[in-house]
């Protein structure tokens, strides 16, 4: 059987620069499974890519509609951005009964959405990240921060959950203000943040968007020296760009410790892309999960295999790392349990999202260093 799998990413638009690595990550898993020849008696996987533009819900719905109704995909690795994901899920995924596993849509709203069991994500809800971030900041002895967020559901949700947690734990938030992505200039935002003051600046944005614009402006004018950087910002690009200027900055992103991640990085390198790029690992895992669930359910019908996703993702069973998909398929075929770990230590909690293991990072020496996991 030839199984088509959809990949829905914002290949053009405001996140066009992190999409390629995500696409490659997803395709890597599919290729691995395909090459192994072990899925459902030698089925091959054909990835079909759709450009959801990230920003335009209507275009995303149209693109995903095409994947499902025209291409007849059996599952979708996507969507990418929360707003667009909600739209395509409600309009296409659920009505057509197609499983969607998003690597990166992190809005808390997706936890409560009525998905009829078709939606999962390999990233955690931002409700959790806010708490983790608040802990890290306080532990570093920073008692007062300014917060800027990218003005969308992701940024807003994250900023809110952080500010709430931080205040509850005794910190002071001097200001919470939005910045829009893709603006020509961030002087106004920097000026406002600087005027409000604070020991550090929390930047809940995107590394190659407004987020780095704000950081740039702050560094140039000397407004802030320390930046707190959540998932959208933790990125090698950022380290390359600012180098030692981020000496005192730190942050966290969903990503688990262990071999999984390193193995994935190696695989990615071999395949010619950067495995540490944001959400590349999550994309790999999302694809892998769907394919493994098929094997477990012995069916490529999403209505059937959707019930197996949680099962393959979680214990009990043998741990599966990136590059070991063939082994996992064999085990499943033999009726054994697996516990998929993958690139990001996947652990799905109800209602089908990553539990949220975060790695804490800093930028000492102009490099992205992992400090620990929590």
């Amino acid at each position: 059987e030839e199984i088509k799998m959809g990949i829905s990413l914002g290949l053009t638009g405001p996140l066009e620069s992190i999409s390629p690595a995500m696409q490659k990550g997803a395709e890597l898993a599919m290729k691995e499974v395909s090459d192994s020849g072990k899925l459902l008696d030698g089925s091959t996987i054909v990835p079909v890519v759709a450009d959801n533009t990230c920003a335009d819900a209507a275009a995303s719905v149209a693109a995903v509609e095409r994947l499902v109704t025209a291409e007849g995909v059996k599952g979708i690795m996507g969507g990418m951005c929360s707003g667009e994901t909600i739209a395509s899920l409600e309009r296409v995924g659920v009505p057509n009964g197609v499983v969607m596993i998003s690597p990166s849509a992190t809005s808390p709203a997706l936890s409560t959405i009525d998905d009829k069991g078709f939606f999962f994500r390999t990233s955690p809800s931002d409700a959790r990240q806010g708490e983790v971030m608040a802990d890290i900041v306080l532990e570093r002895g920073i008692k007062s921060v300014a917060v800027t967020y990218t003005n969308n559901d992701y940024g807003k949700g994250l900023a809110d959950s952080f500010a709430e947690a931080y205040k509850a734990k005794g910190g002071t938030v001097t200001v919470v203000s939005a910045h829009d992505d893709g603006k020509a200039d961030y002087s106004a935002e920097v000026a406002a943040l600087a005027a409000a003051g604070g020991d550090a600046l929390v930047v809940a944005g995107y590394a190659d968007q407004g987020g780095s614009g704000v950081i740039q402006g702050s560094l140039d004018t000397g407004a802030f020296e320390t930046f707190v950087l959540p998932d959208g910002m933790v990125n090698n690009v950022l380290a390359e760009k600012f180098g030692t200027q981020l000496e005192t900055s730190f942050g966290q992103n969903p990503s688990a410790e262990g071999e999984g991640h390193e193995k994935f990085e190696a695989l990615a390198k071999e395949a010619g892309f950067d495995g540490t790029s944001a959400y590349a690992g999550e994309s790999y895992d999302a694809s892998a999960l769907m394919l493994l669930a098929m094997q477990a359910a012995k069916s490529s019908d999403p209505k059937v295999y959707k019930d197996k996703v949680m099962e393959v993702a979680n214990a009990p069973g043998e741990k599966i790392l990136p590059g070991e998909l063939a082994k996992a398929l064999e085990l499943l075929a033999a009726g054994q349990d697996i516990d998929y770990v993958g690139a990001t230590s996947v652990e799905l909690i109800e209602p089908g999202e990553s539990a949220g293991v975060y790695r804490e990072v800093d930028f000492k020496g102009g490099k992205l260093n992992v400090v620990g996991y929590r």
Binding site: V175, E189, A191, Q216, D220
Partner: protein
């Protein structure tokens, strides 16, 4: 001392950044306004012409850097600029030949030309991405700061710092020069007058022995030069990202309109109005107030920065209500 601190804070966070941003907008607006003034349509492809030109400049810069050529404290990109301009000019002239000339001959309504320019915008947009990809690119080398915050603090002993980047100073200087040169060119030189004559009354220009195609070519050449220069300076100051060059188009249009379309002085004034209204109106005065002896809890912010763009548009609309064709009495088709 505290008053000095307050002053420095305003300079550092409001005046200098807004002036630099204003100059960037102004430089872009000069190109838009020129095309509007002479060829009488709003060129939506201008932002992407800027992007395309800058992409070329970056490629050449990389080449130069690989050869070990540099300009000392100034960015190498300045050396690459002429080449970028030349290449972009070729492209732009080609586009005019392939696209706009047809509608000019047909005497199509300006709106048709605008729509054609939207088409060109899409194509250039894709082309730039093909050439250089979508990643953010930093290509500024040489010294970054004329005055850096640390230096300034060390010199003055003030607690507030002040920074002035090379790229900011460069942009300001280039903008002033470009505006002056363009103004003189249009109003004094023969070719410039021919361009204005053409824009006023095409047929009569023909009857005066002015070669319309030459005028058009010249216009595109200058516009291309302005676009590439604007794009490069902007990229040096911020960074190069294709997407941003589309986004900057809106404030550029706003700038050229509020100043009065077709008028170089207007473009520059418009650029600064837009920039200053964005930065100044949303500025929280708390810190300044504190330096002046009023401690408050509130931010003393008129409006939050989410509305900065809205604010600049409100100001723009108010200006237009009192000056319906812009501050400097622009044209309207």
């Amino acid at each position: 001392m505290d008053i000095l601190n307050a002053l420095v804070a305003i300079l550092n966070f409001v005046v200098i950044p807004a002036a630099a941003y204003g100059a960037q907008l102004a430089l872009g607006a000069l190109g838009v306004t020129l095309i509007y003034g002479i060829l009488r349509f709003s060129n939506f492809a201008h932002g992407d012409t800027m992007a395309f030109g800058t992409a070329l400049v970056i490629l050449v810069t990389w080449g130069l850097q690989a050869l070990g050529i540099s300009l000392g404290p100034l960015p190498t990109a300045l050396l690459a600029l002429p080449i970028g301009i030349a290449l972009t000019s070729v492209l732009v002239l080609g586009v005019d030949r392939a696209v706009y000339r047809f509608y000019r001959r047909k005497r199509s309504a300006p709106i048709i030309l605008v729509m054609a320019s939207v088409g060109v915008m899409f194509i250039m947009n894709g082309l730039t991405r093909l050439v250089i990809g979508v990643d953010e690119i930093r290509f500024d080398d040489g010294a970054r700061f004329l005055i850096s915050v640390q230096q300034f603090r060390a010199w003055t002993g003030l607690s507030e710092g002040l920074s002035l980047r090379v790229s900011q100073a460069l942009t300001l200087v280039v903008t002033a020069l470009a505006c002056w040169a363009l103004f003189r060119f249009l109003n004094r030189s023969r070719a410039g007058k021919a361009m204005r004559a053409y824009s006023d009354n095409e047929d009569l220009a023909l009857l005066s022995g002015i070669d319309p195609e030459r005028v058009v070519r010249l216009t595109w050449l200058i516009a291309a030069a302005l676009a590439v220069t604007a794009g490069t300076l902007y990229g040096l100051d911020k960074s190069f990202k294709v997407f941003n060059y589309f986004q900057i188009l809106l404030p550029i249009f706003a700038a050229s309109i509020v100043g009065g379309l077709g008028n170089p002085l207007g473009a520059v004034a418009g650029g600064f109005i837009v920039a200053f209204s964005e930065v100044a109106v949303t500025y929280p005065w708390r810190k300044i107030a504190a330096y002046l002896g009023f401690e408050t809890d509130g931010l003393l912010q008129l409006l939050s920065t989410e509305y900065k763009f809205a604010v600049s548009f409100v100001i723009l609309i108010v200006v237009l209500l009192f000056r319906p064709t812009g501050l400097f009495r622009g044209k309207s088709v």
